[in-house]
């Protein structure tokens, strides 16, 4: 419910959108007795649709399960005539939507099932109401509450999808700034792929945090895997370098190809504040020098 941002205000506003007024709820309560009489037919007719199609039949594995679902469905059916449309009601609907989302039932089934549901309600329940005007009004009210329910179910699907999208984005974010410890107080960040403003921002934050964590003297940023280095990217790198300097460390930029060197100079970007080198191996040598170490050949034994 929190995930959907559903509170009393949202409830009221949604009821207003669907024109689901208290009179509608009262009208539904008034025909509850008739509805109860036809409950079994509606539920059976509903499951006939689900069992008649391979797309939904695969979710209904055995008779015991179908019997159980029919009981749940009957409870759902009766709730439509309870005359209540409050937060607990919505919570119940969200739960139903979430269950269907989890088992992987596509929204088209949801909508198709609701269509059949309305048809059954019309045939079995509404036509059994003696007064014609009353029957028509009751049908309108039913349509409102069913559409209201459907909107909540679809929202649940969307929220679940957004959530998994968010998880994936977080994973990608993490993967896109892998700050590696090369040596004591020396870090390496190999950048791969395009750098936009959002990623540049995140690169800066990650670099700063890791430099502090590792008490790094220097961080090597290798841009060999960055396809395009334009003014913007260069500017981001300069900013990161400036920030790294402010917290007391140095930046070494490596992986600068001839193409990138040409671009940077032609664009007139001044990157003289950075240590820049063509190859990562040279960057590591310089970095080690900055932390007071050096790579030396092994003594012949």
């Amino acid at each position: 419910m929190a995930r959907l941002g559903f509170d009393e205000r949202e409830l009221q506003s949604r009821r207003a959108i669907f024109e689901l007024h208290d009179e509608d709820l009262q009208r539904l309560t008034a025909i509850r007795a008739i509805a109860e009489r036809h409950m079994a037919e509606v539920v059976d007719g509903f499951y006939a649709l689900l069992l008649g199609h391979p797309g939904t039949r695969r979710f209904l594995t055995d008779d015991a399960q179908v019997a159980r679902l029919k009981r749940t469905q009957s409870a759902y059916f009766l709730q439509l005539f309870d005359g209540r449309c409050d937060l607990p009601y919505v919570e119940n609907r969200i739960r139903v939507g979430a269950v269907h989302e989890r088992i992987g039932l596509a929204p088209k089934w949801y909508i198709a099932a609701y269509r059949r549901y309305l048809a059954l309600l019309l045939e079995r329940v509404v036509l059994d109401i003696p007064d014609r005007a009353e029957a028509l009004a009751a049908y309108q009210s039913l349509k409102k509450i069913v559409a209201f329910d459907m909107s909540i179910a679809i929202d649940t699907y969307i929220a679940a999808n957004l959530e998994s999208l968010g998880r994936h984005q977080a994973a990608i974010r993490e993967l896109s700034t892998p700050v590696i410890r090369v040596h004591e107080r020396l870090l390496l960040l190999p950048l791969v792929g395009a750098i936009d403003s959002q990623r540049a921002q995140q690169v800066m934050e990650m670099v700063l945090v890791r430099v502090i964590e590792e008490k790094a003297r220097a961080i090597i940023i290798d841009i060999a895997g960055v396809p395009v280095v334009d003014t913007k990217v260069a500017d981001h790198l300069l900013k990161t370098t400036a920030a790294v300097k402010l917290i007391g460390a140095q930046t070494i930029l490596t992986g600068i190809s001839a193409q990138v060197a040409r671009t940077i100079v032609q664009l007139g970007v001044d990157i003289s504040s950075m240590h820049t080198l063509a190859r990562l191996s040279e960057g590591i040598e310089l970095g080690l020098e900055l932390v007071g170490k050096r790579i030396a050949p092994k003594e012949p034994s």
Partner: protein, 122 residues
């Protein structure tokens, strides 16, 4: 001790050490700058380490005071090293386009002292 501001300045060997733990408002900032310069004059210290790890926020005003104080110290032949800036502070300053001029920086007090040769290399 004729200190004017509330921020203490310690002497460690031939180096001064000060930790800024409170917001540098106008009067405090002015007093701090004067205290630093007076102390340099008095002691002839060859370096000063300014620790700002206690500051959650550094606006451009404070940053300018720190950079200026560093520049003034340098004119008097004293190297100033700014240490302990928090990542979010650095990111904000850079985003605002303020890179604090040419002031020297180090990760923490330890590194700052080492940079000034106040400590054995390690």
């Amino acid at each position: 001790m004729s200190r004017k501001g509330p921020i203490p300045i310690l002497r460690v060997g031939n180096v001064l050490l000060t930790t800024i733990h409170i917001d540098l408002q106008d009067t405090i900032a002015a007093a701090f700058q004067e205290d630093v310069l007076t102390e340099i004059e008095k002691t002839g210290a060859h370096g000063i380490v300014v620790d700002i790890s206690g500051l959650d926020e550094v606006d451009t005003h404070v940053a300018r005071i720190l950079a200026e104080t560093g520049a003034m110290a340098r004119l008097m032949g004293t190297r100033a090293v700014l240490v302990g800036m928090r990542p979010e502070v650095a990111a904000t300053l850079v985003r605002m386009g303020y890179a604090m001029g040419a002031i020297e920086t180090a990760l923490d007090v330890d590194d700052g002292l080492r940079l000034l040769g106040g400590r054995p290399k390690g």
